[in-house]
């Protein structure tokens, strides 16, 4: 089966000599929900910029559903919908005009463009705002407008560059549901995000990029299996002056009523509770210190830095 996106030996050297991409390669399969993660300045946006034809590459090959971006750019671009990180629509245009105009750029006639615009604006909860000037929308609405605009020509590959940045949690979750829905209907999705919980929940495969190189490219489940230790925060009673001794576990006292416990992958949790109970300490609540992907991400990027 043809890949939704195939990147081979992609390099980008900017005019000032900075090498943003050092010959990266990866593939995104059809129907995948793929995370492209990395710290700020790692090369994510440059990669997506090249795929979206917004950045000129120095060398390498990009193909979208088998269409080479250089040799057959028109066909490649048709397959692609792009939701950029920053707002990039005309702030003085009406919401619906922005979506129908974008459809026009793909050769979709006015009547059909209007119908599709109505459909996607309704799906993304912007129907009532369709005649408003776009600059009057809230931040979350502007992000949804960019998603509607990216979908109006019904691409098979959707690129989302931090689509939920600055969006409140309720709206973020409704956007996740929408993205899962269109992915289930067959649209392949590439997502970059700084909310690693988002990537862990939505994505099946992942590439981590750092300093212009791919340092991990695997399935989400295989990546998470690499996590050797998880850190838990436990709220306890009564208040302690020193950390309790727990055989086989690394423990530190964050505050008098809060413990930080590191648990290795091959060890269970029960001994922690029983040993604490023996010492007269009750656990009132417990949570992960950070999400699992975040722990891995930090350790991988740190390792690469060293």
């Amino acid at each position: 089966m043809t890949s939704a996106l195939k990147i081979q030996d992609l390099r980008k050297v900017y005019g000032n000599g900075f090498e943003a991409l050092k010959g990266i390669s990866f593939e995104v399969q059809q129907g995948d929900f793929f995370a492209l993660l990395g710290p700020n300045g790692a090369g994510k946006s440059t990669t997506l910029g090249i795929v979206s034809s917004l950045v000129n590459k120095t060398s390498g090959q990009v193909s979208v559903f088998g269409h080479d971006l250089d040799a057959d750019s028109s066909a490649a671009k048709r397959e692609l919908g792009v939701v950029p990180q920053e707002f990039n629509f005309n702030m003085f245009e009406k919401v619906k005009d922005i979506v129908t105009t974008q459809a026009g750029y793909y050769g979709i006639a006015a009547k059909e463009a209007a119908e599709r615009a109505d459909h996607y604006l309704e799906k993304l909860g912007l129907w009532e705002k369709r005649n408003d000037i776009s600059r009057m929308l809230s931040g979350g609405m502007k992000r949804r407008l960019m998603i509607a605009r990216a979908l109006v020509h019904e691409p098979r590959l959707l690129i989302l560059d931090e689509p939920t940045a600055g969006v409140d949690i309720e709206l973020r979750r409704s956007m996740w549901e929408f993205l899962e829905e269109i992915n289930a209907e067959g649209t392949s999705i590439i997502l970059t995000t700084h909310y690693l919980e988002e990537a862990e929940q939505l994505c099946r495969n992942i590439a981590i990029i750092d300093h212009g190189e791919i340092i991990q490219n695997t399935s989400m489940s295989d990546l998470l299996a690499q996590l050797n230790t998880e850190s838990f925060i436990m709220d306890i009673a009564p208040c302690l002056q020193a950390p309790p001794h727990l055989d086989g576990y690394k423990v530190s006292l964050e505050t008098g009523q809060r413990l930080l416990v590191e648990v290795e992958k091959n060890k269970g949790m029960n001994p922690i509770f029983s040993q604490l109970a023996e010492q007269g300490v009750e656990v009132t609540s417990m949570r992960n210190k950070s999400n699992r992907l975040e722990e891995l991400f930090v350790s991988l990027v740190d390792k690469n830095l060293k």
Binding site: N88, T101, G104, Y105, G107
Partner: protein, 257 residues
């Protein structure tokens, strides 16, 4: 893209451009109408009545073609330069760059949008001039074709200016310091035969002189220059600027990293 899809994409750009300048008509259509009316009153009526004839015509009749052409030049240019620069500035040029629209369609859309504004303002100014003088048309074909070609040429000029512009200051530098002086010195208000021989020669280096005089020939039948040469020069400039604009678009100058 099929021919039909290309047409839809082209018309989408053109109609977006027309929607833009008609939405802000108070900034785009009204000011030239007021300015040109003042020119007609002050230069045509008040001062013109004391000047007498120029090229065998009333001074008012003589300057009307030049003022119409001046409106077309200024408005075609400023429409494309401000529209394309603001598209870059607000980054919605990216909407076009991610789409499959070929560069020549993007360029043609902007040029036609700019030309429509230039010709629209030219039409408004022509209608206003009828309150001050009777217009006769000596050669309709020459009149229409030269105004159309001029609008296209200056739309292309505006496009190139916008590609290189890095700030709103850059958008106004060329119109203020190049276009306006060349237009004023391009025979709008006088015949170059009034100038000493040396300055007549210098004036012939000004491309706007050829456009103004060809248009004046279309209306009044008098010209300071050779019409065939003027047409060849305008078409030549259009071909060169169109090719250069396409090169700028495909290289991504000012619009892609």
């Amino acid at each position: 893209m099929s021919n039909k899809e290309l047409w839809v994409a082209f018309m989408t750009i053109v109609s977006r451009e027309i929607r833009r300048f008609t939405r802000i008509w108070g900034q785009t259509l009204l000011p030239p109408a007021i300015t040109m009316t003042l020119y007609f009153i002050i230069f045509g009526n008040l001062i013109g009545s004391r000047i007498g004839e120029m090229g065998g015509f009333d001074y008012m009749e003589y300057i009307v073609p030049g003022l119409i052409m001046m409106s077309v030049i200024t408005n075609s240019y400023s429409n494309v330069v401000s529209s394309f620069y603001s598209t870059k500035f607000q980054r919605h040029i990216e909407e076009l760059l991610v789409s499959p629209v070929p560069n020549w369609v993007i360029l043609s859309g902007y040029v036609v949008g700019g030309s429509v504004r230039g010709l629209g303002v030219g039409f408004i100014v022509t209608c206003l001039s009828l309150f001050f003088t009777d217009l006769q048309i000596h050669n309709l074909w020459v009149m229409v074709s030269v105004v159309l070609l001029t609008a296209i040429l200056f739309s292309l000029g505006g496009f190139i200016n916008a590609v290189f512009a890095n700030s709103f200051d850059d958008v106004s530098i060329i119109p203020t310091f190049v276009l306006t002086p060349l237009t004023y010195l391009g025979g709008v208000f006088y015949s170059i035969s009034l100038l000493p021989e040396f300055w007549q020669g210098v004036s012939q280096l000004n491309p706007i002189l050829y456009m103004v005089n060809t248009f004046r020939y279309g209306i009044l039948g008098v010209s300071d220059i050779d019409i065939v040469f003027a047409f060849s020069m305008i078409v030549g400039f259009i071909l060169v600027l169109f090719a250069y604009s396409l090169h700028l678009l495909s290289s991504g100058r000012g619009i892609r990293h």
